[in-house]
Structure formats: C-alpha cells, structure tokens
C-alpha cells in the first residue's frame, strides 16, 4: 500500500490554520439558536392565528391587514421569515453536501438554493414592509375596520 504521508519531525507543534470565519461552526450555532427562537415564534403565530377568539374563522383579508398594520407583527413576521428561510436553506445545503457527490451538480444546487432563498427573502420583506392594509377603492366590507377613517 502506498502512503503519501509525510511525518513531521517529533515535537513539531500543530500549525494553527487560520481560515477567517468558520462557517461550519457558525452554521451549527445558527441552527440551534434559530431553532429555539422558531419554536417560540411558530407556536406564537399558530396560537394567535388559530386559537384566540373565533380562531380560524376569523382569518380573512381584514384580519391579515389588521395584523400587518401593527409594527409588532411586522417585526414578528419578518423574524419568522428570515430565521425560518435561512434555517431551511442551511438544512437543504447540508443535505446537498451529503447526497451529491459530483462537484459541479453540487455547485449548481448550491447556487440555485442561494438564489431562490434570496428572491424569497426580498419578496417576503417587500410584502411585509410595503403592505397597504387599506387599498384605495376597496369594498369597506372586506377591509379592516380602521380603514373607514382613511378611505
């Protein structure tokens, strides 16, 4: 058997490799931290949307518009969006690393993942921050109650 192993002289200290940011380590930490936050955020989201008051029957355009007129829910949903999407993408990246042996295919999938995540993040952020709860000329029956003052 051939070995291309070269032995260091005895007692040579291990050369500390400087590589800038350790992505694998931060990725691992991110998955744990975002995971914990997401459990709280997701159950909070489900509880408010499905359990409080009349529950699911309440959900219509006016309900969503009402929520998105409140800065608290905008920040809440933004956090949910960014944490969950990046969490999911990092998970997919790990799966790609595990199952795709071909370096080119791997690269293509990574780029596709990155691109789709970026697009979704931009779109989602746009919707959340530029949402107009009282579109001009809308049927007052369908929009949130506070729109009356504006329309």
């Amino acid at each position: 058997m051939t070995t291309d192993m070269t032995l260091d002289a005895p007692r040579t200290p291990h050369a500390r490799t400087k590589r800038g940011i350790n992505w694998e380590k931060w990725g691992w930490i991110y998955m744990r931290v975002s995971g914990v936050l997401l459990v709280v955020l997701i159950f909070g989201h489900l509880f408010v949307n499905l359990m409080v008051g009349e529950g699911i029957n309440r959900i219509d355009f006016a309900f969503v518009a009402g929520k998105l007129a409140d800065p608290f829910w905008i920040v809440y949903d933004l956090l949910l969006l960014w944490l969950a999407l990046i969490h999911g993408t990092n998970g997919m990246r790990t799966i790609v690393n595990d199952y795709v042996a071909n370096a080119r295919v791997r690269r293509i999938l990574h780029i596709a993942l990155l691109a789709s995540t970026a697009v979704l993040l931009v779109l989602g952020t746009l919707v959340l921050t530029t949402f107009d709860p009282c579109p001009a000329g809308a049927d007052p029956e369908l929009v949130a109650s506070f729109c009356e003052d504006i329309l």
Binding site: P13, H14, E24, K25, G27, W28, T94, N97, A101
Partner: protein, 247 residues
C-alpha cells in the same frame, strides 16, 4: 436433530442456522454477492463461531479478521442483520434464528475481500487527532490525578478502535471525509485528561469543516459501540468545549 437422550440433562441443544454472507473476491468477482450456508450451531455459540465453522468445515476461502475472539482487539466488527456488531460478542441466542442471519462487511470503508475492509482511512483520521499524551512536565514519579479528574474521561478510554461507530455513521458514508466518531472519541480521551496539555490543539483540529460540526446526532455510533461508550455524548462534549474555547 434427533431428540437428545434423557441422560444428557442440561446438554446444549444443537440446531441449524442459515447464515448468509456477502462475499467478494476482487480477483474473480465484479460485484459482491450473497451466499448462504447452513451451519450446525449451539445457542451458546457466537456469530464468530458460525464464521469459523464455515471457514474450517465448508468453505476455506471465506475471509474475515479476528484475533482475540473475546471482544478486546476490535478486529471483527461487521454488519450483522444490518447492525454493526463484533462477531465475537454477538450470541446466536440473541438473534432470531428462525430467519437467516445476514453478515456483511462494515460500510463506508473500501471493501477488500469478503468481510475485510481497508481500515487505513479510519486510522488516518485517528492519527490526525494526536491520540497520545502530551505533557511538558517531567515529574520524578507518576503524574498524579484525582479520582474525579480520571472519571472525567473514563468512558472514552474504553475504545478498542473497532470502527463499528464510524462505519455506522451516515455522515461518514456520504464521502468518508468526516473525522468520524472514533477519532473524536479518542480526541475526547485526551482533551479532558488533566495531565495533557494539547487539548487546545485537538479542539482546533476538530473545529474543522470535516470535524465535529458534521455530526448530526443520529446516535448510530452510540448504538453500535460494542464497548458501550456514549459516543454521541462524547462528541457533544467536544462541541461544547470548542464553543467554550477550553475543555
């Protein structure tokens, strides 16, 4: 088998077990194939005895590694009914012998012949974590250690380097680049040893792209370890030590 005469009270009953072995001879076969053998066995026998009977009485070409036959040398880890076990520690009575017993080589390492794999990649990553004591002090007598300090890494001293853990790890199967549980277990053994001074070096080595962060906590390693080492726990302790920056 004929019923044993009454005189043989307490005699161990003999029965026939079907053993299906995944064979491969690189000089003849393009692909591995399964071959079955009917082996007369006693319930006190181990899987290793079945392999011996096949090799000694039926087919001398069957190749496998074993040395101590008592669970301490670590040479006969293999996949028995889909689980990584030592053949010398797996009793026939613990398996369901109404069905055949499937035996194949451990996965993730290059197959050489029948049940023998090339262990070199496994030992290469073992060597990389510097599994030896590094201490600069030169005491007159032995280096003293309290009972608690010794207990800190007691679990990981038990490793026999059988590779059952590493070759049961789905992350290791993917590309074989991951250090693997066994290397981390043996790094753990020195990282948490109060007499050793190179913990930082080993933590640095394992804080690598192919280091502890690839562990997905699937617990296959803990389930496979014939020494009962809590492998996944050891890996988590190394992760925590890296985050803390010290053991």
């Amino acid at each position: 088998m004929a019923t044993a005469p009454a005189a043989e009270v307490g005699a161990v009953q003999e029965f026939t077990v079907t053993v299906i072995v995944r064979r491969f001879d690189p000089e003849v076969d393009a692909e591995p194939y399964w071959q079955d053998f009917d082996v007369p066995m006693y319930s006190t026998d181990r899987v290793l005895d079945a392999l011996h009977k096949i090799k000694w009485e039926q087919d001398g070409t069957l190749s496998f590694r074993r040395s101590c036959a008592h669970g301490i040398c670590g040479s006969d880890a293999m996949r028995i009914n889909g689980r990584n076990r030592l053949a010398c520690k797996t009793l026939i009575k613990d398996l369901d012998i109404t069905k055949p017993i499937y035996i194949e080589a451990i996965k993730g390492l290059p197959l050489e012949k029948d049940l023998i794999v090339d262990m070199e990649p496994f030992f290469a990553s073992y060597r990389q974590v510097q599994p030896f004591l590094q201490a600069s002090s030169k005491p007159e007598k032995e280096r003293l250690q309290s009972i608690e300090e010794r207990a800190r890494f007691d679990d990981t001293t038990k490793c026999i380097l059988c590779a059952a853990c590493t070759s049961s790890c789905p992350v290791f199967w993917t590309d074989g680049q991951y250090f693997g549980p066994a290397a981390i277990v043996n790094a753990h053994r020195f990282i948490f040893d109060s007499r050793d001074e190179a913990a930082q070096v080993r933590l640095d080595i394992l804080n690598d792209k192919e280091g502890v962060w690839r562990c997905r906590t699937t617990f296959n390693c803990s389930e496979a370890c014939p020494r009962g080492i809590e492998v996944t726990k050891a890996i988590s302790e190394v992760k925590a030590a890296i985050l803390r920056g010290k053991p």
